[in-house]
Assembly symmetry: C2
């Protein structure tokens, strides 16, 4: 869309937020005070997040319309650059084909250029790339920037686990919230009803801006003051999804699957609270907790590949099945299970978390998939 057309439409922006009672309504006509949003990442979920955000920045006066989205440049089979294809068609033709992102989304292959003018940075890349990206951004972002992480996973260091929100805060020296929830990207892309949870550290006003940026009538966002709880839910649920997939592959039925999911939720809660005593029980009742666990264990890719792994009796590796089944998408559960196992080993907690431990032992080939239920007596004794 041409700048003039954008400007004309901005005149019609809503001045209040219809569906979000937590926000004070304020008319922001001075464009210099409008928030400017950049999205770092453009995979399946990054593209859907950009679409959600762009619908709100376009509608609301408190944001600049344009959403700049960093794209790790690729050359498509046609010879066209991915960024050029996105900007020409307004679709991420590779990772979210068929969905218009909004004309105010601009794909940019230059990481530094993407973030230069932004005071709201949305991180949504595979977690293994986050440390490198943050290091490249040191000294390149605005002094008043705030971040939110949609990234699932953690970095395990010698001194212990480091959450992605902490990594961002430590390397860039800015505050970082998180957004997690029952959010299978393709369903949100077609605007089916769902919910999400923003976890924030201290500043309620910052949390409300993030809620405002993501909230739509079909995407209900709630904020809770518990960054670590929300982030660990989003991370650990992928380990439980592997367990649920094993149960599916072994055709053990719904009672068993529900029992394994419940035991998994219990270990998620216990693990999170051992690592961060500030984590709240109530967070596990939010969308990031029980709902994300349910949707991931019903339909997610970790569950799907784990089911195939169990059906094959563990004879085909996760790497092989992932390459065959996921068209280039990466499975986070297997690496998270390994990272969790490292934390458990290092701290002497293996016996306290038999489900988490067993999932890693199965996915790494040490135990057969049927071990997922055989550990149950250990489980009962340990709590």
């Amino acid at each position: 869309m041409a700048p003039a057309a954008l400007e004309a439409q901005s005149q019609q922006k809503e001045e209040t937020v219809a569906h979000n009672s937590v926000l004070s309504s304020s008319s922001v006509n001075d464009t210099t005070h409008r928030s400017k949003v950049s999205v770092i990442g453009s995979g399946n979920w990054g593209s859907v997040a950009s679409k959600l955000i762009a619908s709100n920045t376009f509608r609301l006066n408190s944001f600049h319309d344009e959403v700049r989205m960093w794209v790790y440049e690729e050359t498509l089979q046609s010879g066209e650059k991915l960024t050029d294809a996105i900007n020409r068609t307004n679709e991420n033709v590779k990772y979210l084909p068929g969905i218009k992102l909004g004309n105010n989304v601009v794909a940019d292959p230059d990481l530094e250029n993407t973030v230069r003018d932004a005071n709201m940075l949305v991180f949504v890349t595979p977690h293994q790339f986050m440390e490198g990206i943050c290091k490249r951004l040191v000294g390149k972002i605005r002094a008043d920037a705030e971040a939110i992480s949609l990234v699932k996973g953690m970095e395990v260091k010698m001194e212990g686990p480091c959450m992605i929100s902490s990594l961002i805060s430590q390397i860039l020296g800015i505050s970082c919230s998180v957004l997690m929830g029952a959010n299978i990207a393709n369903e949100i892309a077609v605007e089916k009803f769902s919910e999400a949870t923003v976890g924030y550290r201290q500043n309620r006003d910052v949390a409300e801006r993030w809620v405002q940026l993501f909230y739509t009538p079909y995407f209900i966002v709630t904020a809770v003051q518990d960054v670590e709880g929300v982030e660990l839910c989003g991370t650990l649920k992928n380990v439980v999804a592997l367990a649920a997939g094993f149960v599916d592959g072994l055709e053990m039925g719904n009672n068993t699957k529900a029992a394994i999911m419940r035991l998994g939720l219990r270990e998620m809660k216990a693990f999170s609270k051992l690592l961060f005593p500030s984590v709240k029980d109530s967070t596990f009742f939010e969308s990031c907790g029980v709902a994300d666990l349910i949707t991931t264990c019903l339909g997610g890719r970790n569950r799907k590949v784990a089911e195939a792994y169990a059906k094959n009796g563990g004879r085909r590796s996760f790497d092989e099945l992932e390459a065959e089944m996921l068209q280039g998408q990466k499975l986070q559960g297997v690496s998270t299970a390994r990272e969790v196992y490292e934390v458990l080993s290092h701290r002497g907690w293996l016996e306290l978390f038999p489900l988490f431990a067993t999932v890693h032992e199965i996915s790494s080939g040490l135990l057969p998939p049927s071990a997922i239920v055989e550990y149950s007596e250990k489980q009962v004794r340990s709590f």
Copy 2:
């Protein structure tokens, strides 16, 4: 099995409980002090419960072997009485065909005779029959009897809702615990791994006897001191299962289903705590809470019929679909939704519980199935 054979095997009973650390091990060789168990009810779940119980009374010294099971007498198509068929084949040929109940289960068509010698009464009938059954038992039970209810549902009286455990206690003047959980009966019948929760009022020793009676390596039972919380979980989850079924019938996807299940869990918790302030949040993390909700929303009959109802756009009634799809089993969700609606209306709480209210309005034909998601904005405003 002949009495002599039973006696011989009793000599070999285990003197301690291998899998249940909460129990003190005591040798009870004096048969006069052994607990005697009767099961009132013999449907699908009642038959499975009798099988679980009979395996333990047979194995453990603290119980009489025989489990007497009251059967509402029917004449089978063959002309044989149902009780005769059960006692001849050791199977409930009508409600749980193909599963041996254990030779120490005795089907009895005489209600008073079933309970006469028992000090542990297990109630497991459709909830609408409970009041009549209890009234027939007044003065017919042992003075030292204890009860446990596996019945889902509640009676709505002018003065408010009455839980089944309270009904039993009030009419019979005995204490009553409850057992609820992620327990689709046919899966437990074939000994697939699952869990359940005993809710007890005050006496931990009583709770431990109930745990001992039901616990097997594939059926893990945990006790919590929260009768009302556990019982309301088992009752209210059927209302949420109808909502989940509507979402399935409308093909809205897993995010939406997970969101509706989470919102349902939230209303279950809020409703229970408004009715009984003693209800604990932690109960909803037990098998009776989140796990039962999951299994019921994945595979239960309320979900299944609600899915068909939504697929038909509400044009075929629940009564009609129930008769066609359930072979004589009864759907509890629809009547529970109506009863909950009556409580909400009577107390002025309808606006606080938009999901519960909407489920009843859909199942009674006042709203179309698609209303299940359209209420979402009300939901966000009300909490």
